[in-house]
Protein backbone atom coordinates (compact mmCIF):
# COMPACT_ATOMS: atom_id res chain seq x y z
CA UNK A 1 0.00 0.00 0.00
CA UNK A 2 1.06 3.55 -0.63
CA UNK A 3 1.69 5.63 2.43
CA UNK A 4 -0.70 8.49 3.15
CA UNK A 5 2.08 11.07 3.59
CA UNK A 6 3.59 10.22 0.22
CA UNK A 7 0.17 10.42 -1.42
CA UNK A 8 -0.51 13.81 0.16
CA UNK A 9 2.87 15.21 -0.93
CA UNK A 10 2.39 13.94 -4.49
CA UNK A 11 -1.12 15.38 -4.67
CA UNK A 12 -0.10 18.79 -3.33
CA UNK A 13 2.94 18.85 -5.59
CA UNK A 14 0.79 18.08 -8.63
CA UNK A 15 -1.67 20.85 -7.73
CA UNK A 16 1.14 23.36 -7.19
CA UNK A 17 2.74 22.31 -10.51
CA UNK A 18 -0.51 22.94 -12.40
CA UNK A 19 -0.78 26.31 -10.67
CA UNK A 20 2.80 27.22 -11.57
CA UNK A 21 2.16 26.40 -15.23
CA UNK A 22 -0.98 28.57 -15.15
CA UNK A 23 0.95 31.44 -13.54
CA UNK A 24 3.75 31.33 -16.10
CA UNK A 25 1.37 31.05 -19.08
CA UNK A 26 -0.76 33.89 -17.74
CA UNK A 27 2.15 36.23 -17.15
CA UNK A 28 3.58 35.41 -20.58
CA UNK A 29 0.20 36.31 -22.05
CA UNK A 30 0.14 39.52 -20.04
CA UNK A 31 3.49 40.38 -21.57
CA UNK A 32 2.85 39.31 -25.17
CA UNK A 33 -0.82 39.88 -26.05
CA UNK A 34 -1.60 43.01 -28.07
CA UNK A 35 -4.49 44.69 -26.28
CA UNK A 36 -6.10 45.45 -22.92
CA UNK A 37 -9.01 43.18 -23.75
CA UNK A 38 -6.68 40.34 -24.66
CA UNK A 39 -4.50 40.83 -21.60
CA UNK A 40 -7.59 40.55 -19.40
CA UNK A 41 -7.81 36.87 -20.38
CA UNK A 42 -4.23 36.31 -19.22
CA UNK A 43 -4.81 38.07 -15.91
CA UNK A 44 -7.96 36.03 -15.40
CA UNK A 45 -5.87 32.91 -15.85
CA UNK A 46 -3.37 34.07 -13.20
CA UNK A 47 -6.12 35.07 -10.78
CA UNK A 48 -8.37 32.05 -11.01
CA UNK A 49 -6.43 29.00 -12.23
CA UNK A 50 -3.00 29.81 -10.85
CA UNK A 51 -4.04 31.14 -7.47
CA UNK A 52 -6.72 28.49 -6.93
CA UNK A 53 -4.46 25.56 -7.73
CA UNK A 54 -1.54 26.84 -5.65
CA UNK A 55 -3.84 27.52 -2.69
CA UNK A 56 -5.40 24.07 -3.10
CA UNK A 57 -1.93 22.53 -3.10
CA UNK A 58 -0.98 24.39 0.07
CA UNK A 59 -4.25 23.34 1.72
CA UNK A 60 -3.62 19.67 0.87
CA UNK A 61 -0.08 19.98 2.20
CA UNK A 62 -1.26 21.49 5.48
CA UNK A 63 -4.06 19.05 6.32
CA UNK A 64 -6.96 19.87 8.61
CA UNK A 65 -6.21 22.97 10.66
CA UNK A 66 -7.18 26.62 11.03
CA UNK A 67 -4.58 27.55 8.39
CA UNK A 68 -6.44 25.48 5.83
CA UNK A 69 -9.64 27.33 6.63
CA UNK A 70 -7.89 30.66 6.09
CA UNK A 71 -6.31 29.42 2.86
CA UNK A 72 -9.67 28.28 1.52
CA UNK A 73 -11.12 31.64 2.55
CA UNK A 74 -8.42 33.39 0.48
CA UNK A 75 -9.13 31.02 -2.39
CA UNK A 76 -12.87 31.64 -2.37
CA UNK A 77 -12.33 35.40 -2.06
CA UNK A 78 -9.91 35.49 -5.00
CA UNK A 79 -12.11 33.18 -7.04
CA UNK A 80 -15.08 35.50 -6.71
CA UNK A 81 -13.43 38.94 -6.70
CA UNK A 82 -10.84 38.75 -9.47
CA UNK A 83 -13.38 38.09 -12.28
CA UNK A 84 -15.31 41.08 -10.94
CA UNK A 85 -12.14 43.19 -11.03
CA UNK A 86 -11.21 42.17 -14.57
CA UNK A 87 -14.79 42.78 -15.72
CA UNK A 88 -14.65 46.25 -14.21
CA UNK A 89 -11.36 46.95 -15.96
CA UNK A 90 -12.89 45.93 -19.29
CA UNK A 91 -16.01 48.02 -18.70
CA UNK A 92 -14.12 51.16 -17.71
CA UNK A 93 -11.65 50.73 -20.57
CA UNK A 94 -14.50 50.47 -23.09
CA UNK A 95 -16.26 53.45 -21.53
CA UNK A 96 -13.09 55.52 -21.75
CA UNK A 97 -12.75 54.70 -25.45
CA UNK A 98 -10.02 52.07 -25.73
CA UNK A 99 -10.53 50.41 -29.10
CA UNK A 100 -10.24 46.62 -29.38
CA UNK A 101 -7.65 45.31 -31.82
CA UNK A 102 -9.14 44.17 -35.11
CA UNK A 103 -12.25 46.28 -34.98
CA UNK A 104 -11.75 49.99 -35.53
CA UNK A 105 -15.14 51.02 -34.21
CA UNK A 106 -16.31 52.72 -31.05
CA UNK A 107 -19.98 52.22 -30.16
CA UNK A 108 -20.95 51.60 -33.78
CA UNK A 109 -19.15 54.65 -35.20
CA UNK A 110 -15.85 54.47 -37.08
CA UNK A 111 -12.79 55.67 -35.23
CA UNK A 112 -11.33 58.97 -36.45
CA UNK A 113 -7.77 58.81 -35.16
CA UNK A 114 -6.11 55.70 -36.64
CA UNK A 115 -2.89 54.85 -38.39
CA UNK A 116 -2.38 55.08 -42.15
CA UNK A 117 -3.52 51.60 -43.08
CA UNK A 118 -6.44 51.52 -40.66
CA UNK A 119 -8.97 53.98 -42.25
CA UNK A 120 -9.70 51.64 -45.15
CA UNK A 121 -10.66 48.89 -42.74
CA UNK A 122 -12.71 51.31 -40.66
CA UNK A 123 -14.68 52.56 -43.64
CA UNK A 124 -15.31 49.02 -44.82
CA UNK A 125 -16.63 47.87 -41.47
CA UNK A 126 -18.75 50.99 -41.05
CA UNK A 127 -20.34 50.46 -44.47
CA UNK A 128 -21.04 46.85 -43.59
CA UNK A 129 -22.70 47.65 -40.29
CA UNK A 130 -24.73 50.49 -41.76
CA UNK A 131 -26.00 48.19 -44.48
CA UNK A 132 -26.88 45.55 -41.93
CA UNK A 133 -28.70 47.82 -39.51
Amino acid sequence: MIETGFLISVLSGACIAVGVVALLVGSLGLLRLPDVYCRIHAVGMIDTAGASFIILGMAIHEGFSIVTVKLLLIGVFLFFTSPIATHAVAQVAFKCGVVPVGRNMVNGAPLQKTSKSAPKLASKTSVKTRGAS
Binding site: L23, I46, M58, H61, E62, K70
Partner: protein, 92 residues
Protein backbone atom coordinates in the same frame (compact mmCIF):
# COMPACT_ATOMS: atom_id res chain seq x y z
CA UNK B 1 7.76 22.28 -4.73
CA UNK B 2 6.90 25.36 -2.68
CA UNK B 3 10.27 26.90 -3.54
CA UNK B 4 9.65 26.29 -7.24
CA UNK B 5 6.24 27.95 -6.90
CA UNK B 6 7.81 30.94 -5.15
CA UNK B 7 10.38 31.27 -7.96
CA UNK B 8 7.57 31.10 -10.54
CA UNK B 9 5.73 33.82 -8.60
CA UNK B 10 8.87 35.98 -8.76
CA UNK B 11 9.33 35.38 -12.50
CA UNK B 12 5.74 36.19 -13.36
CA UNK B 13 5.87 39.22 -11.06
CA UNK B 14 8.85 40.49 -13.06
CA UNK B 15 6.90 39.93 -16.30
CA UNK B 16 3.91 41.85 -14.92
CA UNK B 17 6.28 44.61 -13.79
CA UNK B 18 7.63 44.90 -17.33
CA UNK B 19 4.04 45.23 -18.55
CA UNK B 20 3.45 47.91 -15.92
CA UNK B 21 6.42 49.84 -17.26
CA UNK B 22 5.58 49.37 -20.96
CA UNK B 23 1.79 49.50 -20.74
CA UNK B 24 0.29 51.44 -23.60
CA UNK B 25 -2.81 52.58 -21.71
CA UNK B 26 -3.45 53.16 -18.03
CA UNK B 27 -5.75 50.13 -17.93
CA UNK B 28 -2.85 47.86 -18.82
CA UNK B 29 -1.06 49.22 -15.80
CA UNK B 30 -4.09 48.72 -13.55
CA UNK B 31 -4.41 45.15 -14.80
CA UNK B 32 -0.73 44.40 -14.28
CA UNK B 33 -0.80 45.88 -10.78
CA UNK B 34 -3.82 43.71 -10.00
CA UNK B 35 -1.89 40.64 -11.20
CA UNK B 36 1.14 41.68 -9.11
CA UNK B 37 -1.15 41.95 -6.06
CA UNK B 38 -2.45 38.41 -6.61
CA UNK B 39 1.11 37.13 -6.99
CA UNK B 40 2.11 38.90 -3.76
CA UNK B 41 -0.77 37.15 -1.97
CA UNK B 42 0.48 33.78 -3.21
CA UNK B 43 4.08 34.70 -2.43
CA UNK B 44 3.36 35.64 1.18
CA UNK B 45 1.46 32.40 1.77
CA UNK B 46 4.19 30.31 0.11
CA UNK B 47 6.91 32.11 2.07
CA UNK B 48 5.09 31.32 5.29
CA UNK B 49 4.89 27.65 4.34
CA UNK B 50 8.58 27.50 3.35
CA UNK B 51 9.74 29.17 6.57
CA UNK B 52 7.53 26.87 8.64
CA UNK B 53 5.23 29.60 9.91
CA UNK B 54 1.87 29.20 8.14
CA UNK B 55 0.36 32.03 10.21
CA UNK B 56 1.45 34.34 7.41
CA UNK B 57 -1.83 33.57 5.65
CA UNK B 58 -3.51 36.23 7.82
CA UNK B 59 -1.39 38.90 6.15
CA UNK B 60 -2.15 37.27 2.83
CA UNK B 61 -5.91 37.50 3.46
CA UNK B 62 -5.53 41.18 4.31
CA UNK B 63 -3.63 41.75 1.07
CA UNK B 64 -6.40 40.03 -0.90
CA UNK B 65 -9.00 42.44 0.45
CA UNK B 66 -6.75 45.48 -0.06
CA UNK B 67 -5.93 44.46 -3.62
CA UNK B 68 -9.60 44.24 -4.55
CA UNK B 69 -10.47 47.57 -2.91
CA UNK B 70 -7.46 49.31 -4.46
CA UNK B 71 -8.24 48.15 -8.00
CA UNK B 72 -11.82 49.34 -7.67
CA UNK B 73 -10.73 52.69 -6.24
CA UNK B 74 -8.41 53.36 -9.17
CA UNK B 75 -11.08 52.28 -11.68
CA UNK B 76 -13.68 54.51 -10.05
CA UNK B 77 -11.24 57.40 -10.19
CA UNK B 78 -10.77 56.76 -13.93
CA UNK B 79 -14.44 56.42 -14.74
CA UNK B 80 -16.04 59.20 -12.67
CA UNK B 81 -13.16 61.56 -11.95
CA UNK B 82 -13.61 61.45 -8.19
CA UNK B 83 -13.58 58.86 -5.44
CA UNK B 84 -17.14 59.58 -4.39
CA UNK B 85 -16.67 62.31 -1.79
CA UNK B 86 -17.86 65.01 -4.17
CA UNK B 87 -20.89 64.51 -6.42
CA UNK B 88 -19.88 64.84 -10.07
CA UNK B 89 -22.83 67.12 -10.82
CA UNK B 90 -21.32 69.83 -8.63
CA UNK B 91 -18.29 70.04 -10.85
CA UNK B 92 -20.13 70.53 -14.12
Amino acid sequence: MMIVALCACAVSMIMALVRTALGTTAFDRVLAVNAIGTLIILGIALHGFIMGRPEFVDISLLYAILNFIGTFAVLKLFSTGSLGDKPPSRKS
